[in-house]
């Protein structure tokens, strides 16, 4: 978690701080999901409130990016952003599927932005020395 009381934070570039904040919010949602499904599969009374609250936080953390990136429209002429907004911050009852669908959209975006992508190691399936060298910048 970013500690704003720490002097070291002052010297850290804002970009790095925001990245950590986003990852923290992402982790919080995962934690809430775990709790929700634990209740569900234990046959306990389920409370979607925490999961919903954390999704809203993540949504607002990323709002500007989402607005910029999710511009594609569906047949009802609604943008992906508008659909996501409705899924997350609907005043009425929010369904589990809506939350999961919204989380999927955000996960895909975070992966596209290389924020949660970790499988970046170069793996070229070729036994050709020329192909291997070219992929590593020795063209």
């Amino acid at each position: 978690m970013v500690d704003f009381d720490n002097d070291a934070t002052v010297g850290t570039p804002p970009l790095d701080l925001v990245r950590i904040l986003i990852l923290q919010r992402h982790y919080d949602v995962l934690e809430a999901l775990e709790l929700y499904f634990k209740q569900k599969y234990n046959g306990q009374e389920m409370n979607i409130g925490l999961l919903r609250a954390r999704m809203i936080t993540l949504f607002y953390q990323l709002q500007a990016v989402l607005k910029r990136k999710l511009k594609e429209t569906n047949k009802n002429k609604k943008t992906e952003y508008q659909i996501l907004f409705e899924q997350v911050s609907n005043e009425g009852e929010v369904l589990e599927e809506d939350i999961l669908s919204a989380f999927e959209t955000i996960n895909t975006l975070l992966d596209d932005l290389h924020l949660t992508r970790f499988d970046t190691k170069l793996n070229i399936r070729s036994a050709s020395a020329v192909v291997q060298d070219k992929a590593r910048g020795y063209g």
Binding site: S128, A129, V130
Partner: protein
């Protein structure tokens, strides 16, 4: 089934064929491509190099190589062969016993001329194949320029076949770095994983014998040259450097004194110390006049 070929009809694993063809395509784009075959003595470096050269010829729809056209033993012969290959439109040349092109002699005229050769040969669309016991003795300039494109390390030759592991340039640089800092150098080949492994078979009977004969001839010549140098014999070029005079002048003095060379190795005349002393006297008397 032919015992000198695998099921694929090749004398080596098909993964090597893929690599050779890729290098041939590369060289046609006028990019430098050099293959290094390294390994301990007697592991079959020259055999594999000949098989590779044959495959390059096959790619260009040419017959298998003729040793006295495409196989050079030592740097001087290699440069001659390179020229022959260019005029005969052949696309590969083998530089066997290429240990003479090493970084210890980095400042010698010979190394400089070979370096220049490797810088410029790409225009000829020829793939040189270097055979030497340890690739890391080669001049570092060669690696910085990205000229070697494939290293084939030959090891553990058995009765029926030899084995090789292939490294592209990107891995070759890691290997070189690690080997240079190691005490037990050959073991480093086990630490850097190669891109591919493969096997190769011996050449067909008569060709194998021909290669052996050719190779021994070359090795004897190298021995002869070394012997000449250690026994104090000197060439006309060496004498010209010794006295700081032109080669043509020294040759004129040799003919004026009617000196017969003490030894002739590959058309090169070697003179002994007494003859060199006679030339020195002749130079002194010429200066007095």
């Amino acid at each position: 089934m032919d015992k000198h070929l695998y099921k694929s009809g090749l004398p080596f694993s098909s993964v090597l064929e893929l690599n050779i063809h890729d290098l041939c395509k590369r060289v046609h784009k006028k990019k430098a491509s050099l293959i290094i075959v390294d390994g301990m003595i007697g592991e079959g470096k020259t055999t594999l190099a000949v098989e590779i050269a044959d495959e390059i010829n096959k790619f260009h729809k040419q017959p298998p190589i003729i040793f006295h056209e495409q196989l050079g033993i030592g740097g001087e012969e290699f440069q001659e062969r390179l020229r022959v290959c260019y005029y005969k439109k052949l696309h590969s040349v083998i530089y066997d016993e290429s240990g003479d092109f090493n970084r210890r002699g980095a400042l010698t005229k010979f190394n400089a001329s070979l370096n220049r050769t490797f810088e410029t040969y790409r225009a000829l669309k020829i793939i040189p194949i270097l055979c030497l016991p340890a690739f890391y003795v080669l001049d570092k300039d060669l690696f910085y320029k990205g000229i070697p494109r494939l290293l084939l390390h030959v090891s553990d030759r058995g009765d029926k076949q030899g084995n090789f592991s292939g490294y592209p340039l990107s891995q070759l640089l890691y290997l070189k770095h690690r080997i240079e800092n190691a005490i037990a150098k050959p073991i480093i080949y086990n630490y850097v994983p190669p891109l591919f492994y493969g096997h190769f078979k011996d050449l067909e009977g008569s060709r194998s014998r021909e290669l052996e004969k050719y190779s021994i001839r070359g090795k004897l010549e190298i021995l002869g040259k070394t012997e000449a140098q250690t026994s104090g014999l000197e060439t006309a070029r060496g004498i010209s450097v010794m006295f700081g005079m032109g080669l043509r002048t020294i040759k004129r003095y040799i003919s004026e004194l009617s000196l017969k060379p003490a030894k002739i190795i590959r058309r090169t005349h070697y003179f002994e110390r007494t003859q060199i002393a006679a030339i020195e006297e002749h130079i002194a008397s010429a200066r007095e006049k």
